[in-house]
């Protein structure tokens, strides 16, 4: 039997209020396993504002602060500053927010926070829509997806704009560490969290967290779908360390995006032609990413 690499300590206990098969719970569980006890979380409006339980209950073993939807970046800046005053700089300060709270309404506060260079973790658990309010499109919803505000209808009104690339925008802020991760690859995710603990300054993680309720698939397929997102290169796993790109999981054979789409109701309406266009776009992005690795390898 191989050696277990995932820490056994649990900081997210049973009894959460999330949906069956929720990828967001895994995003939290693995993160806390990597970070350990000395951690403070700030969470804005999102599924996780509800999932730990209602007052006075919690299923988290670390302190957690609920804040307004749009201010996670500022909220963690404030915690970090106060900990400096108190001489407790060893504590991990973590903003944990959904994609809407990160990439749309919280984007200004996030940009301000990382620009100022606070020593914080910002973790976006990306389920690609406003799930807590009932599956409305966000800037992080991928092209082609059905949501309740891109309801397809008779006019083909699915999400037409591409997913906003927040990861690259974070890289453009010249922060020391940026990474994508997936709940379907926990070893890779935790390794990146541990790397972040060794890095001073702002760290940004975008963790694909499949959502059975919003993506319309059976709850037992969360990990399978999460893996397909990586194996099709729709959601490649990589990190950017001080400007240097590194792909952390390279699929032996890239699978067609169609395999990923077929398992999810949110893409069921897409005509072959559109799937083909998306495939071309994914191929191009994958090529760009590989060239970035090549281009920055000697930096």
């Amino acid at each position: 039997m191989g050696k277990l690499t995932i820490p056994e300590e649990e900081y997210m206990l049973e009894g959460h209020m999330g949906c069956l098969g929720c990828g967001g719970t895994l995003a939290m569980r693995y993160l806390l396993k990597g970070l350990g006890k000395d951690t403070i979380l700030s969470i804005p409006a999102c599924c996780w504002a509800i999932m730990m339980g209602s007052f006075p209950y919690t299923n988290l073993k670390v302190p957690m602060h609920n804040s307004a939807f749009e201010v996670t970046g500022a909220a963690i800046s404030g915690i970090e500053a106060a900990l400096k005053v108190k001489g407790k700089e060893h504590i991990n300060v973590v903003g944990f927010a959904g994609d809407g709270g990160t990439i749309d309404i919280g984007f200004q506060a996030l940009s301000g926070c990382v620009e100022r260079g606070h020593n914080v973790f910002y973790v976006c658990y990306d389920n690609e829509a406003y799930m807590n309010t009932g599956i409305q499109r966000s800037g992080s919803t991928p092209v082609g997806a059905w949501t309740t505000t891109t309801p397809v209808g008779k006019t083909g009104d699915w999400k037409k704009a591409p997913k906003k690339n927040a990861v690259e925008i974070m890289v453009a802020h010249k922060i020391p560490y940026t990474a994508t991760a997936s709940v379907a690859y926990p070893e890779d995710y935790i390794k990146k969290v541990l790397k972040g603990k060794e890095t001073k300054g702002p760290k940004y993680y975008q963790v694909l967290s499949p959502c059975p309720t919003g993506w319309k698939y059976p709850p037992e397929k969360t990990v399978e779908i999460g893996r397909l997102a990586v194996q099709t290169c729709i959601y490649p796993l990589y990190e950017v360390v001080n400007g240097r790109y590194n792909i952390t999981f390279k699929p032996a054979k890239k699978k067609p995006v169609k395999e990923y789409f077929e398992l999810q109701g949110r893409f069921r309406h897409l005509p072959e032609k559109v799937i083909e266009e998306i495939q071309q776009s994914v191929d191009k992005d994958w090529e760009i990413l590989q060239r970035k690795v090549e281009m920055t390898k000697d930096l």
């Binding site: 730990m52 302190p63 609920n66 005053v85």
Partner: protein, 423 residues
């Protein structure tokens, strides 16, 4: 006045038993207030006419005179959000803003009071656009009435500095734990210099103990807890709101106590919630907030020389509202006028509404009239206040023409089109 010339005047100091007197404007007074109160985390964003507050604090922290973390945030919304978590982590926090900055914070103000955090903020009262205006008006802070913040209105730059220290004293008490907004009128205070005494640090330290919340009430990995989580209708939401109400009620006495204790040490106090001037034998009293009060004092002195029994009741705290003090005042006077440097569209001046409401259950009900004046920074001079007093005498004698009047509009207010054509 340029920064350099202010700096020059600042160098002329006089040391007294209680502090060092310097010539400065209200904005610097606010910065010195934050410094001597030993604020630990500052998060602020610049806005006219508040900018010098944040500049001066930057000077203090850069020179090492002030040991604080200063987060130069990218918006006022983020300023308040950062202070909320910093305060929840156990730090003493301070910021300053004005008008559009304050209204941008609106949502976060409720987060601060709901979380029971003793944040202290200075707001430079400025009119809201459009049309653009950077001059004095109280609409920005009055629009925050229901956010659960205490609200103070200052008459002098010295009062700004002293009120900051007093507010930390009140806000951080374990059974109060509420935030406070300290208002200063744009330009009348923010940019006008006057001698201000910066209290000696050791005296401030004696008056104001450090902020030391219980570890289990802060974000602390040794005491993991969730702050601000969901509360359902049949659980605790109304009870949490009731607790804020009770703390506000308790604060009435604590503000008075803090003010008189401050007076004993520093020789200055400000009347607690309602600052009375020559009201003991007054027949007619004008009420107002902020710098309108200074002009009113002058008008009163002149009218007293003419034998008129007039007085001033300056509303120092809008929240908690001094209901009991106003009722006590009403026992003695025949007519009360209320000057509002703001307006609630669809009704009347907000201070006037509150005063009327306070007097509904009073034993003695004086005659009342509202006066809207000084909007958008329009100057209110002694002559105008004397005219208002003259009108109040008519009201006292039962000749009331209206419930509220706008007293300083241009005579041709309905003729703007003709005026534009002439231009």
């Amino acid at each position: 006045m340029s920064t350099t010339s202010i700096e020059k005047t600042e160098k002329h100091t006089t040391t007294t038993k209680t502090g060092v007197k310097k010539v400065m404007h209200g904005n610097y007074a606010a910065s010195y207030g934050a410094k001597v109160a030993r604020a630990e985390v500052i998060a602020a964003y610049p806005i006219t006419p508040q900018s010098q507050v944040v500049e001066k604090i930057a000077e203090f922290t850069s020179s090492g005179e002030m040991k604080a973390q200063y987060i130069k945030v990218e918006s006022e919304q983020s300023a308040m959000a950062a202070l909320i978590t910093a305060s929840q982590t156990g730090a003493r926090t301070f910021t300053a803003t004005s008008a559009h900055g304050l209204t941008l914070m609106h949502e976060l103000l409720m987060w601060a009071s709901g979380a029971r955090l003793p944040i202290v903020m200075v707001n430079v009262n400025r009119a809201m656009a459009p049309p653009w205006s950077v001059w004095a008006e109280h609409t920005d802070s009055i629009a925050q009435r229901d956010t659960g913040w205490m609200q103070f209105y200052c008459e002098t730059s010295q009062e700004i500095l002293d009120t900051i220290i007093q507010c930390y004293k009140v806000c951080e008490q374990e059974d109060i734990m509420l935030p406070a907004l300290i208002n200063e009128d744009a330009f009348y205070l923010s940019h006008t210099v006057e001698p201000v005494e910066v209290p000696h640090q050791e005296l401030v330290d004696k008056y104001l103990p450090p902020f030391n919340p219980k570890p289990e009430l802060t974000l602390n990995p040794d005491h993991p807890a969730v702050f601000g989580s969901l509360s359902k209708p049949d659980e605790w939401y109304p009870e949490f709101r009731w607790m804020i109400h009770e703390a506000m009620e308790r604060a009435k006495k604590r503000i008075k106590d803090a003010d008189s204790e401050f007076g004993k040490i520093f020789g200055r106090s400000y009347g607690g919630l309602l600052d009375l001037y020559k009201c003991d034998d007054a027949e007619v009293v004008l009420m107002c907030a902020g710098t309108l009060a200074s002009t009113t004092r002058e008008a009163i002195d002149e009218l007293r020389n003419e034998g008129k029994k007039v007085g001033l009741a300056r509303i120092r705290t809008f929240r908690p509202f001094p209901v009991e003090d106003i009722r006590a005042l009403a026992e003695k006077v025949q007519a009360i006028g209320v000057m509002d440097r703001c307006f609630t569209f669809g009704y009347e001046g907000p201070f006037f509404t509150e005063v009327k409401g306070a007097l509904y259950h009073a034993n003695n009900k004086p005659k009342l009239k509202g006066y809207i004046t000084g909007m958008g920074g329009r100057d209110v001079d002694v002559q105008l206040v004397k005219k208002i007093f003259a009108d109040m005498y008519k009201v006292k004698d039962g000749k009331q023409d209206a419930e509220t009047v706008w007293v300083d509009l241009k005579a041709d207010v309905n003729n703007m089109n003709a005026w534009l054509k002439v231009r």
